[in-house]
Symmetry: C3
Subunit: 420 residues, 3 copies
């Protein structure tokens, strides 16, 4: 999937986005594609004109094509206006972007809301440009069109929703951001195949910032009423860190779930602050929106040198990296589906031995056997949900679940929420 989608020229609008969503719809047939016309108001924002590119290049004084959009779509500054002219190297320099400290990387540059044109090249190449006249050609269109996003609603037993949101606006870069759409697609396929879902899943594939703002402007009230936890899915494909970026105050169910899963699966995960944010949690967690959304990532955007350059390519991600991102998010969703508030049904400890839940022979070495059972019975007192109980006991919820199910089957614990 990443290999197929990598070469497509995506931006916040345009045919590259449609082509990408169409590819995903082949994998998730229930995905709904929405088109929002240019000029549509969304809170403080307006949907911009649609941008499409046929070709773009620079020809040097020797007649060589020194920069070619066809070879790498990062070469063109995103949302560049059309241009066709011959200019001096000095004038050209004002439209070139490169990274002196990463001289072999093509940077990723955009100018969505201010009309500009420009090219991104490696600093090595830039230093070798000869004096003389250059022909620059950008065959782009900026016209009234629409912004495209994909939405997949997977109904569950409850109206309460879990949000998954990812970006489809980045051109040829892999971790940020093909890993997000890829992992989200496979999470959606897994969710689709479940026999039973407690919660309804709202899964969004949209361009960053303007996409989530447009989406929120159309769905805010319903989302505020229903969403109990959400995940912004980005940078989930490399082999390095696992990372957590909290919601605005770090105190939501999504935060507790993410911390519980990462603590037990990857205890050396990196914990960021909301001050380190940079993705759509900026919108989902903004005042007045206040959704319980966190980011669970591999190496966080901005924390690896390849970020937002041509070096964030298919070699930077790996099947193992993506699978790691997938598993940790799947574990979060499983914990959410499992979570409930249980309450003890008997006063004092129940007699576990007669129910086969406890060794009947008491001997020094066996004392620790049934600690989990007794701890579950002690802290399932109606004041803690299962994640809180598991946190108190310091055990992963998934390892406690067989015991919890046995205790429920024996009517020693009962659920306060009934729809399971």
């Amino acid at each position: 999937m990443c290999v197929d989608l990598f070469p497509i020229c995506r931006s916040i609008t345009g045919n590259g986005v449609r082509q990408t969503l169409s590819y995903i719809k082949d994998l998730l047939p229930d995905l709904q594609l929405h088109e929002v016309p240019s000029g549509t108001k969304a809170f403080d924002w307006t949907v911009p004109k649609e941008w499409n590119v046929k070709d773009a290049y620079i020809i040097d004084p020797d007649g060589d094509k020194v920069v070619d959009f066809q070879k790498n779509n990062l070469h063109l500054v995103g949302y560049s206006v059309p241009v066709r002219k011959t200019i001096s190297l000095e004038e050209l320099q004002e439209h070139l972007y490169s990274l002196p400290e990463q001289s072999s990387a093509v940077p990723y540059v955009t100018s969505y809301y201010s009309p500009r044109w420009g090219f991104c090249i490696t600093h090595e190449r830039r230093k070798n440009l000869k004096p003389g006249n250059y022909h620059v050609f950008i065959d782009s269109t900026l016209t009234d069109g629409s912004l495209t996003y994909g939405e997949l609603i997977l109904p569950g037993l409850s109206d309460k929703e879990i949000l998954l949101s990812t970006y489809i606006c980045h051109p040829s870069m892999a971790n940020n951001e093909l890993s997000g759409p890829a992992v989200t697609t496979y999470l959606a396929k897994w969710l689709t195949g479940l026999d039973k879902r407690i919660f309804t899943y709202r899964i969004i594939f949209s361009p960053e910032t303007i996409g989530s703002i447009v989406y929120l402007s159309k769905n805010l009230q319903k989302m505020k009423n229903n969403i109990i936890a959400g995940f912004n899915i980005t940078c989930v494909g490399d082999n390095d860190d696992y990372s957590y970026l909290p919601s605005r105050y770090g105190n939501t169910l999504a935060d507790r779930i993410a911390l519980h899963v990462l603590t037990h699966t990857h205890p050396d995960y990196k914990r960021y602050s909301f001050l380190d944010r940079g993705g759509d949690e900026r919108q989902y967690c903004s005042p007045g929106v206040d959704l319980p959304v966190v980011s669970v990532m591999r190496t966080k955007y901005g924390q690896y040198p390849e970020y937002h350059t041509s070096l964030d390519d298919l070699n930077f991600i790996s099947p193992e990296g993506l699978l790691g991102g997938y598993y940790v998010l799947k574990k979060c969703l499983e914990c959410l589906e499992t979570n409930n508030t249980l309450i003890n049904t008997v006063t004092c400890e129940p007699q576990l031995g007669q129910r086969g839940l406890y060794k009947t022979l008491s001997m020094k070495r066996d004392q620790k056997n049934s600690k989990d059972v007794l701890n579950l019975l002690a802290y399932c007192d109606g004041s803690n949900d299962l994640i809180a109980v598991a946190d108190i006991i310091n055990r992963p919820l998934w390892e406690l679940m067989p015991l919890i199910e046995a205790l429920m089957k024996n009517n020693l614990l009962k659920a306060l929420r009934k729809n399971q």
Copy 2:
């Protein structure tokens, strides 16, 4: 007292318990003994049949008595059913319990709720058993009878109660558990002799688990209404640690008192988690019971190698060890009796000098003299009880009491609770 009681064969029921309680009643004449018939329901539990043993031994192929209940009652698995037969060594092995890692210790094993028989021996002895036929003999009875516990209520000025609870179900072991009944007995004697008790004391000598469950089933509502703090008294006889095990959420008056006393008397005490629990706090702190009960111990059960073996004998405890346990618990009770919420009677600082509470000559070196007085006046603002004030000031309550009494006598502080 420990020497006298050590040899008695105690269990959760039977004549050993009665004999033990009768001995304690000689020391505490107001102790009430209660008998609860076998078959009585108590929450999820049923009082088991009563178990008594006349004799038990194993005779080896040479005719030697290799294991003899008369020599050490730990040799017999608690609640062993009667048996009289000759069996091979192989078959016998299935009924033997020993500790390979502590080869000179006889383990303590019970099987209260599942009919079994068995013998506990040292691993050294077990390895030297010869092949051949063994005669096993257990002259025990398991009949309808009753569970016996002792209860002593010492009335105070207030109906509010302090709970002391300890175990009388352990056979020949010293720290766990003759230290608990011994220290509790002497605390009760001290309380009995007091001129005035603010609180009513509810003191329970009962078999572990089933005893406290039975007791709670008969007294729960009254206990929930009245008990303001309680102590589970166990493992208070050795010379090593001082230990604290909190209530379920660690936030009760009993927790605050125990921490205050241990912090100032034994600052190197060990602080356990409720997850480390193993005694009757399991019942007292269970959901629906929710009593404010903690354990203040010397070395905690399970934390010393001699625990639940024949090595926990009279050599493991000492008069100094028991006295240390007694003093720290006595200090807790004294702090409870002393505790009150006081409130300042004057706005701004009172003029202490004219009342003889402050040096009248102010000079650099004297500045620290009256810090405690001023701190008491500052934090006795009606929002903190005296334990909280002493914690803020970081001073032991007992060292502040003479000042507090002087301030009350001068009408600078008055008590919100009047019954003192």
Copy 3:
């Protein structure tokens, strides 16, 4: 100012206090001087008789004036009763005060509320006193008079008040206490000159303890209703530490402001406990008064060896030291004037680019530019005041103010309090 005021013999009453306040009134013409007659009741206290001294000395057996009040008014114990007699060295010794561990220092000693007389001398001098008869002479008066304090009210747009309080009762000592009146005077001059004050300022120059108690007894209800933050200004003239001493529970606006300013201006400041208090915060923060008052100091009283001796002289303080104390308190007042609760006016992030508040070109290296703007918009959600927002963002409020003003001008933030 310190040079002029240093030689005056101040005490809690008397002409030295009037002379000092009159000097300050020359600098602050609106300062109101109040006289409270001896015998006036103030809560638990009574205004004492007024004390004035014409002369005092000791003449040794050789006829030499070995101690002379005219040379240093610290030589006389504060509130000494008149005396004129010849006594032996032995009897004299009972009336002498010196510091063996600081043999060249004259200690500062007072006996306000217990009739005494005495002299303070260096320990060096004391050791060299010859046997024989000494003539002691104290020409003091203790008569019905009055206690004098100065009060300056600077009205602001709001009735809500900020309290500044300092001491004018210390004789010839510099850091404790001419630095307090000096810095307070210059803060008052700065406040007087402001175009606009949000808050009303209540500025008190009074004798320590009895002065603040008398003042509170006359103004308590109004102060409790209006004061939102206050500063006890003392020991603000040396070159060493910056120090913070909290209010009784350390949780007031004054505490938050002081911590914010010191954290960003002098991160190595010393943080004391309310248990370390020793000035008029004892009255302002007492139960029933409960004003939000903290002390922001240079080196705290009692923490430097020169404290309360003749060594705390004009060499111990410096213009730089006083200026440092002035600036940090001024910063606190500026933060209070600036502080407000702001709320975001748009849902989701506003489009900052079109308002010139954000770079319109997105490139890797520019990502951090507008963090402050986005963080302000995220945490100005109506639940935090600006100090709290700045604390969350971990940035000094004064550096954020230009951005905050730009955001308000652009109607992206609006104030919940309107009087600015």
